[in-house]
Symmetry: C2
Amino acid sequence: MDMNVQEKKAGFFQRLKDFPSKLKDVVTKRVKNVLMFGKDDPRRIIHSMKVGVALTLVSLLYYVRPLYLSFGVSGMWAILTVVVVSEFTVGGTLSKGLNRGFATLTAGALGVGAVHLARFFGHQGEPIILGILVFSLGAAATFSRFFPKIKQRYDYGALIFVLTFSMVAISGYRTDEILVMAYQRLSTILIGGTVCILVSIFVCPVWAGEDLHKMVANNINKLANSLEGFEGEYFPLPEKISNETNSCVREYKSILTSKGIEDTLANLARWEPGHGRFRLRHPWKKYLKIAGLVRQCAFHFEILNGYVLSNYKAPEEFQNKIQEPIATMSREAGEALKAIAKSIKTMSKDTARVNAHIDNSKTAVGNLRIALKSSYPETDKDLLEIIPGVTMASILIEVVNCVEKISEAVEELSGLAHFKETLDPKILSAEIGQHQLLHRGTVKPVLDGDNGEEDTDSSPHVLINVHDEQPPATTGKNSLGVEKNIV
Amino acid sequence: MDMNVQEKKAGFFQRLKDFPSKLKDVVTKRVKNVLMFGKDDPRRIIHSMKVGVALTLVSLLYYVRPLYLSFGVSGMWAILTVVVVSEFTVGGTLSKGLNRGFATLTAGALGVGAVHLARFFGHQGEPIILGILVFSLGAAATFSRFFPKIKQRYDYGALIFVLTFSMVAISGYRTDEILVMAYQRLSTILIGGTVCILVSIFVCPVWAGEDLHKMVANNINKLANSLEGFEGEYFPLPEKISNETNSCVREYKSILTSKGIEDTLANLARWEPGHGRFRLRHPWKKYLKIAGLVRQCAFHFEILNGYVLSNYKAPEEFQNKIQEPIATMSREAGEALKAIAKSIKTMSKDTARVNAHIDNSKTAVGNLRIALKSSYPETDKDLLEIIPGVTMASILIEVVNCVEKISEAVEELSGLAHFKETLDPKILSAEIGQHQLLHRGTVKPVLDGDNGEEDTDSSPHVLINVHDEQPPATTGKNSLGVEKNIV
């Protein structure tokens, strides 16, 4: 027992000794995490600094004597406004600032009117009239916030309306200097709002519209990566069969539920003035349409993913037959998406390249049909066995259709948003034709540690095996497809 | 010309005459719309009234002389708190109220500390020290709002922290009564917050948790309606072929993008105390899991919908073969979902009924496989023609798998949330067995104006044709399935 107590004591002292170093470890880990988080998107750090700067600027209303003498304690409304209006994006700040400004103005005026009206009813009647007015306007404005259109754009304004009206009307009961008070508050709120908006626009601005623009392009890129990784997942190289799936095939996942963020960004983007490549009335709604189509495509991918994950595989012979057209289909559709994403990012039209890739993938759809037809099952048992493969192929064909719809929507956007024309289409399609000839055959992603020779193509991680196993009909159709593109 | 002028004049007077009646029309239309909107969810009107009541209550701080003498103009903080903290749900109000209370307390204390610290540096150094403190704490707290965990639960608290600290620290520079001011503000904020929380909880409360609970059950019901309407869409009765799709088949659409609302509700539900059938630590996270599975199922439906909408139909012979098992599958899976939804709504276990329906739909999956096998294509052209039908059937099988997963997740929930046990399982499964016998054969929804005889079953809009066309193997399997259920 004594030994035990001694051991415990020793253990306690040991822990006491270790405590500082452990604490240091925990703290350094936390600090590292925070720094990593800041590095992830340095705009977050910049935004925090901007809020600090805006706060320091409005605090001058207190520190500088002449300013304090003219505004007095109303300076606190400037501080309050800065804290509440400072949003991450310019659109957010403008939306809140303008809402706050107009709501304060109208509610303030109405409040002063209410106080004057109530005074007609004598000292006894005044609080009753004020109470009725505050109750009814407060309830009505609160109810208006439930209407989707008001909620979307003027929610904050309605809130501030209730706030200001109630405060002016109620505190007007106890002060005679209501107009001075209203003037001081309004002017400090305007000062706070203006400081915020200026800092937001002129110090490293974060534009909601630009974020939406990039997000849509990135989502299309994610889809492209998922499509291009699909073959490697569904037809893995023998040495690679494992339960781990390639992370790039999962990239589409975040698109499934991104609608909320996109809607918010589009809503804020409408408040923003023209900036950089975006004019004042940039067609933000079109981005939502494209994003919807991209999401539709991601839904298809979610279902496809189920087939990739299922342990059930179609018979090898059938797999071999459909592998080549499926590989071409997903690769070409993926490249079309990459071209579309690049076209959005650079805001330049690239219709020829996109259409060429889409045509190639459609040709591959034709080849897939031929391959499916040629894999006519010999027994009724075989029919059941190929059903999952057939379903997978069928959904992938739908994905190609989705890609075409996305390209049409982006074409529409490129017209409305004045995308600039780029390369001479003739040179381009000749280039793609060559590219296509290089690509004919089976393309498999090279794995780490795989000793396959790297090709000299622009995409460094692709290994091309040109083999003769493919049915002659398929190859014929394929080159036909390419010729069609050059025209 | 003269005639023209006269005509114009007459037209103008006419319009002037019509104006009041037109205005009346517009106004009545608007008022009707608003009333309709309120009727849609009367809780909106009640909430607006509640905000009005809370505002009237805190305005007593101004109207009642003794209260005004003790709190002075700080009463406006109570008004501000009521307006800002009043959220639609109890969880929202509690989350904002508690965040505001704690943030004001800590930031107020730190602010008073900062003012005392700054006074050591003399009148020249005071604003500099205060400025540095406000800048750094403001920036740090703003940065903390980017962390997902803080954003989710303490975003408002961090905002109020910056607000209070800045206001106390900056205005402390100009007043010597800082402690009195801090006390008055804190107490009025506590009064405002308490009034809000009490009104929110005790006057017709809207619980976020209950909303989430109902929403999940309703979404499952929507899926069930879509499933049950599927057969009628895909195999329309000859006299019904039209491009209009039944609205109930589209019900699943809203589920595709409901993640945001569900997450918000679950987040708010965690702030709520135990109420009614929900204990304090109700497993809200499990609802999100179920909602995720329901959404997965809706994704499948979105793809199925593409097949319903496509004009391409499989050959009639093939359609006839797969119609019966597909009808049973979708109907039984739909009934399983309805039973699950009811079990959630009533918070009572109904495992036997759910499992019986799932087993029935699985038996139908088996029959579908047999039907597919028996529709072994005679030529390779036929194979291509049945592909869309095969894909559709294949996705529908996945839907049945989804339904099973949903039922498992709800089973888990029912254990954690202490759902009550209901009927004696034996009686129930006998009842379902009988029900199943009645249902054997093809079930088609009865159309308005259709003179088919109505059955005496519980669902009044279903017409049952027991016919002999089905392959004997199918019928055998089907009754086998039923027997399995009775055991």
